[in-house]
Symmetry: C4
Subunit: 265 residues, 4 copies
């Protein structure tokens, strides 16, 4: 099946900004984008399924199954100084290297049709130890994008510290640029444990996003939301690890040469 987008509604948007927050280190982007989606009362209009996600379903409390997916929400500007938004959140990124490219290209094809020219991607930056006040570091598609975001206190000297951005957050900027889109990746400093969400870094990210997007976000319920999310994320990671292990595990006793029985090539 590769990767496909199922659309429920064709939203009419005016020069929308795209915001991505998928799982990653500290789940900083995922928490921030997910919370934004709820706080702004956005509407889901499309879902993305991919054979590059793990091949299982999760069970909700209600005994209903849940296929891994990414989701697209939209927000129509309500006040002056705001812009229409498209927000991408999801359960998973690709589990194989090639899939990252495929998913990002399917997304960019779709976003192009929706008139997207500006991208904001969210990620965590593992710094290896707890920080008192995590900073937000910026990476851009083009140097001139820095000018636009300079006033928000983003650290643009992180190039040497960062090195690389793995997955959708990086590829959306890099491959979006080939299509003439411009964007920024906001990287929230975090300890860097892959599974454990970092609500502190996510809160700082959220407050920055509120300023950039000119929206009001009440971060009071964030702690509670993160707790809920934590269980779900652990479940996904857990099975992913086990399934991978099953695939990668060598045979118990590969004493093939001693065996008398036949193996034909």
């Amino acid at each position: 099946m590769a990767t496909k987008i199922t659309e429920f509604e064709k939203p009419k948007l005016n020069n929308p900004i795209f915001i991505e927050g998928l799982p990653g280190v500290g789940n900083v982007g995922r928490i921030a984008a997910g919370y934004l989606t709820e706080e702004l009362k956005t509407k889901k209009f499309a879902e993305l399924y991919s054979s590059h996600f793990m091949p299982f379903v999760l069970l909700h409390q209600s005994s209903a199954v849940h296929v891994l997916k990414n989701e697209l929400y939209y927000y129509k500007a309500k006040e002056k100084g705001q812009r229409d938004l498209i927000i991408l959140i999801g359960d998973s990124q690709s589990v194989d290297p090639e899939g990252h490219y495929e998913i990002v290209e399917v997304l960019l094809d779709y976003l192009e049709k929706l008139g997207v020219k500006d991208l904001i991607t969210l990620a965590g930056l593992s710094v290896g130890q707890p920080t008192e006040s995590p900073k937000i570091i910026g990476a851009v598609s083009d140097p001139d994008v820095i000018e636009k975001y300079k006033k928000y206190g983003i650290d643009f000297e992180g190039g040497s510290k960062v090195g690389t951005i793995v997955g959708a957050a990086g590829l959306l900027l890099g491959l979006g640029r080939v299509r003439g889109m411009k964007g920024i990746c906001l990287l929230g400093e975090t300890v860097g444990f892959p599974i454990i969400p970092d609500p502190k870094s996510a809160e700082i990210m959220l407050k920055l996003l509120a300023k950039i997007l000119n929206v009001k976000i009440n971060t009071e319920k964030l702690q509670k939301k993160v707790k809920e999310m934590e269980d779900f994320i652990k479940k996904v990671e857990d099975v992913q690890r086990k399934t991978m292990a099953g695939i990668m595990r060598p045979p118990e006793k590969p004493e093939e040469k001693k065996e008398k029985l036949s193996y034909i090539g």
Copy 2:
């Protein structure tokens, strides 16, 4: 070749229910669906081949080769209270993560054309130790499906116990739902050894299916059938493990740096 369905006959079916029973933990679904296929005197009408199965053939006693495949059988309702059935059984599921998605999508495309709207998938649920009386746990595509199956004594409180359903049994429900199909996955509790079939759990599953489908099934020959099946399954698993091992095995002495001979990149 990816995945393809070869059709022998185009059956005319009236609002058929689809039942899936492929290999998995304890082979509970496979045994139950396979036995159902024979007991109901169903007719094979299509076969599915996939490059996501292992690339070998097995040899029957007759010296004839057997490519790994899945098979589709149909049953025409004979009595009041019965419905037309399509049953899927097979030798193998995908051996790589992506293949599960591909095979399930090829199946759903085909089932959609045959007018399928209801799905029943069968699986084993590994509980880690022998149980006196294994239960059947239910997972559904949509919460309202529970209502329909509540009267059969299925355990719908298993959500926390289950966690995930790996492979076709889960994806058929999850991706079928995107197409408007509704369904249930019946999970038979079993010790959880992957290769060894669990006839006890399969028998309980069969009796439940007989009630749901309103058909009569004599489970007397089940023990004998399971014994026959066991040898075949062991053979498939065995070669699969060995072939995988061959692919994954590191070289015997990778002392590349010490070698004088040339390797060019």
Copy 3:
């Protein structure tokens, strides 16, 4: 690029038999088919390239490069009792499980166009220890094929001994059958070391083929040919193992948690 066939000449053949001899255990099929190709003064008419072969070229003595490929030769019947032949030989089989299916399907599509209805595939059967007089064991696409080949002294009781046939030799029969082709796989007993060619088993195979095809083959030069081939095969196997090792090798010290430098997800 997947898999593609480059055709030099469109041969006009009358109900040709297809004979496959690719590398495998003991290289029994490869030696026999390769020698047959030379002895019968067949003509090469097509080549098959595939991204499922290893991504390197080999160097001939002449300093000219050699891409891994399979080759198709044809032979026009010259005497009564003979039939037109298509012979497939080659440097390599697929190095990944999926590729075996793809290559076999591309071949069968092509053979179907050339009017092929009968298949003979050649393989080695690893018996784990040297045999005084290796036997040829037969596996068939359909039980009724046994009748046709019974008179040649092939062992058709090998089903229990054989178990499985991995790769093209098995899949050609199994998937050819789905297209209405009939065939036999001839398995020459051999010690079972993958790299070392077994000329004894190949000679017995050749003599059997000569009888079946009603052609005369002088096996005198076989020892010399096998020696030449041995170096080439070793070279291919060697790099294949090393390249695989490079891909599969874990990093030297994955102490990711202790590192201070950043890795972003």
Copy 4:
């Protein structure tokens, strides 16, 4: 997305020679081709992106992201005895075996349209120990190409020493040949550490190229360029290794049998 070429300009070239210099052992080809590109004041006209490169972006000092890519430059002949050139350089080769074939086929399709009939590919030949004066060894698509390049002091007796050429440098010749292109692979002897660039071997390669192409190249700035390049290459290699490790790493404690919680197949 597979592999795609984005073209900025459609250059009009007269029977151009194609020169390839991608990363590899000692980065001999990459350094030589990269330096040639700058010295000849060539113009970039196309970029190649592929899902067979690693799925991350690198950060430049300017905080701008950099997707892994290959780049195509052209040079118009300025003096008598020169020919138009197309030069391919890049950050990466395919990280999986299949990708090498795909990328090379996409390139050859494109080069065919640009009228390319002659290929020069550059690679390093690992000799395992430092050499006083590294030689350049030649491998050709066809034996008659040797005649053309004999006068430049290339070693054409290296066949036995070389064995194989892995990746684009080899496949471009081997698969180009199937399309009627002719070419040579120049292999610069180097110690053979994959990451560390070998400027000495690259300089000898550059001087040879200058003679063949009849262009003037000042190699004075080579040392400085190599130093700059070294940091970038190390960064790419580093993340590639870590990302691969993350994918390949087995689970920490696969005590699946002891677990009470459920895993369903």
